[in-house]
């Protein structure tokens, strides 16, 4: 007997009709999400992709010296190259001189190897007097560095379109003469210190926040609604208040003539003329960031603790557990999801903090974000800023991924 098909009212098999309805619903849901998805894709995700692209993009010089690099392909990079390379360089530099755009390659080449700046400037100045033929000799006559292979090797090294040199710089490494990766000199290693400091501050701020937030979340979760609502304001008001307002209040408190220093002097911990420096160093960054990020720890902890029934602790007690044992064996394990959520959130926010360290951190309390901003706005090394940004982004996305696995992104609690 063949299987009987169930038909819907309009004569289409039910299975088919259900599938159709399912497809329609799916399409409807996707269409609802689509506008925001496209918006974020175009104005946010693509620009971030563009930033990654900028951090490795090294095509500028390749485009400006095309004939040189063409000729260099046949050169093995050992001795001095032959005439065609110099001829290409002559043609490229002449062209750049006519267009007055050689300034760009000077900066790029000088970054590759110092000494290029004067070399190119001098060559460009004299290039119009060059006679046709035998360019190699004429170049060497203008500047003897053109007879030193290391300069030509450095020039050849800039030929590839893509370069990860900025990433190496971000971890205090560089290429040496033979394109080997080495650490930079001891006294120029600043980025490793910066990364370590950023991780250090983020880690300790997370720990401090946890230590401060755990007891008060417990209190908020166990007090009767009447009182806990009132105390909750202490958590939520800073949460809703402008970051700059909160930072400026810390600047008031921590300044040399500020209330905290007054208190220290009054207690007698320091002399009036020898007030401790509480701001513009890493202490200021720690204190202000802990207070500012504390609500982000309290809210997830509170929402988890709220769901723990008080009868569990009573049960523990009635079974003979001391308060400490019942806490460690019953209460604490139940709050671990909240601890994970809070700590990851605070750590993620702390690692990319910019405003507070910039205002109260000074030089010794500035973090990786501040350095990115410096390279974006002051040194204008956008490629390097992008590389540092990409490295930070990879770290944050890794933690975000863990957060998503452990907590689920839709469980973020806001107020």
């Amino acid at each position: 007997m063949s299987k009987e098909q169930i038909l819907s009212s309009d004569g289409i098999p039910l299975e088919q009709s259900l599938k159709k309805a399912e497809r329609k619903n799916k399409l409807k849901a996707v269409l609802l999400v689509a506008p925001l998805f496209l918006f974020i894709l175009i104005i946010y995700v693509f620009p971030i992709g563009d930033m990654l692209f900028r951090s490795v993009d090294d095509r500028m010089i390749t485009k400006m010296l095309p004939k040189t690099f063409d000729a260099m392909e046949k050169w093995d990079g050992n001795d001095l190259p032959d005439e065609p390379v110099y001829k290409g360089l002559y043609e490229d530099l002449t062209y750049l001189k006519q267009n007055k755009t050689y300034g760009k390659i000077i900066a790029r080449l000088n970054y590759e190897k110092s000494g290029f700046s004067s070399l190119i400037k001098k060559t460009v100045r004299k290039i119009s007097k060059f006679e046709e033929g035998n360019y190699k000799e004429q170049f060497i006559k203008v500047h003897k560095r053109w007879s030193q292979p290391e300069y030509l090797v450095a020039l050849k090294n800039t030929a590839p379109n893509w370069s990860y040199a900025k990433y190496l710089k971000g971890v205090d490494m560089t290429f040496d003469q033979d394109r080997k990766i080495v650490s930079v000199e001891e006294d120029r290693r600043i980025y490793k210190i910066l990364w370590m400091r950023t991780l250090n501050v983020a880690f300790w701020v997370t720990i401090f926040c946890f230590i401060l937030a755990y007891p008060i979340s417990h209190l908020l979760a166990t007090l009767p609604m009447k009182y806990s609502n009132l105390l909750m304001i202490c958590v939520l008001l800073p949460f809703w208040t402008s970051l700059l307002v909160r930072t400026s209040s810390w600047m008031v408190l921590l300044q040399q003539q500020g209330p905290i220093n007054d208190l220290i002097v009054w207690i007698g911990l320091a002399a009036d003329d020898n007030r401790p420096e509480l701001m513009y160093n890493v202490i200021g960054t720690f204190v202000a960031m802990t207070q500012i990020l504390l609500p982000f720890m309290v809210l997830p902890l509170y929402s988890v603790m709220k769901t723990i029934s008080p009868s569990l602790m009573r049960a523990g007690k009635s079974l003979g557990g001391t308060p400490l044992v019942s806490f460690l064996k019953i209460y604490f394990p139940l709050t671990i999801p909240g601890i994970g959520a809070g700590c990851l959130l605070v750590f993620i926010l702390a690692i990319g903090y910019y405003i507070t360290p910039a205002l109260v951190g000074g030089a010794s309390g500035s973090l990786i974000s501040n350095t990115i901003a410096y390279h974006m706005k002051s040194s204008l090394d956008w490629a390097f800023a992008s590389a540092l940004g990409t490295m930070l982004l990879v770290g944050v996305l890794a933690i975000y991924w863990i957060y998503n696995k452990l907590v689920g992104i839709d469980n973020i609690k806001l107020g």
Partner: protein, 284 residues
């Protein structure tokens, strides 16, 4: 939290230590905000509690910094306030509409790859602002929207939508879908159902998301620092500039106004949250 009479001494000590510690933490959270209030009424131009203020002498207090904030010569606060409100208003509208619509899709059980979409749409909240600022700056410069209100509004929409998506999906998680089916069976078309049934029920979530979006835009400084020209200055930018130079009492006056504003927003958000819980039948 009175303890029973028979509580042993060591538990008593432990309990009061715990309460004292909590009191200290609450103080640590809230006290810094209240340092600003009296200083904004300082009659002197130093950010310091003067002897007259401590003695509560009326002469130690004045409104001159508020006057300076509003009527001061060449002061930037008027333009900054106008810009901030303008940008935050349109950014809030954009975030709220885009975020609410997306949340409706994300809450549907037919949505494919829900977790991945959610993670992507929330990411502007997680990615450090300095990275968002850098990336958005490159983009806006490329399309010619740097130093325009439009560019700043678009980037603030990006930063605000995650909050709307989160609050509205949270509201929708307790949503009883049988009411929309009932409306449909009574002959209502989807748009009508949304406007008359769904929207009023999720309104508290939408408004609290909108409040978040508003505050995010109104407080945002990093992205604006990259994008703003002289005409696009906002309150946070002016505070940032002022704080980098020196602490001035006028900034304390502005900060006080912002604290008052955030208090109002907090109260509104709290009332909405309670109303939402009542509407969704969550009793605590």
């Amino acid at each position: 939290m009175a303890l029973p009479n028979h509580t042993p001494l060591n538990y008593r000590i432990w309990h009061y230590t715990y309460l004292t510690f909590c009191g200290f933490v609450f103080f640590f959270l809230i006290a810094p905000l209240f340092v600003i209030l009296p200083l904004s009424f300082n009659a002197e131009q130093y950010i310091h509690f003067s002897a007259k203020m401590l003695a509560l002498d009326p002469e130690g207090f004045s409104l001159r910094w508020y006057e300076d904030m509003i009527y001061g010569t060449k002061n930037p606060w008027g333009l900054a306030t106008k810009n901030s409100l303008f940008i935050a208003f349109f950014a809030t509208i954009g975030s709220t509409i885009l975020g609410t619509v997306a949340a409706l899709g994300l809450s549907s059980r037919h949505m494919p790859y829900k977790a991945a979409f959610m993670a992507l749409l929330i990411s502007p909240m997680i990615v450090p602002l300095i990275i968002s600022g850098t990336a958005i700056f490159f983009f806006m410069a490329k399309v010619g929207l740097a130093a325009t209100h439009t560019g700043i509004i678009l980037s603030h929409i990006i930063l605000g939508t995650p909050f709307v998506v989160i609050t509205v999906t949270a509201t929708l998680s307790g949503f009883d879908h049988s009411v929309t089916r009932a409306a449909a069976s009574l002959g209502s078309n989807p748009v009508n159902t949304f406007m008359k049934i769904t929207l009023p029920l999720i309104m508290p979530g939408v408004i609290s998301g909108a409040l978040f979006a508003f505050v995010t835009s109104f407080d945002e400084v990093v992205v604006v620092l990259f994008l703003a020209g002289l005409d696009n200055t906002t309150i946070p930018i002016q505070m940032w500039v002022g704080l980098r130079e020196q602490l001035s009492p006028t900034i304390m006056a502005v900060a006080t106004c912002l604290i008052v504003m955030s208090t109002l927003i907090l109260v509104t958000a709290e009332l909405l949250r309670r109303r939402s819980e009542r509407l969704r039948g969550i009793n605590r």
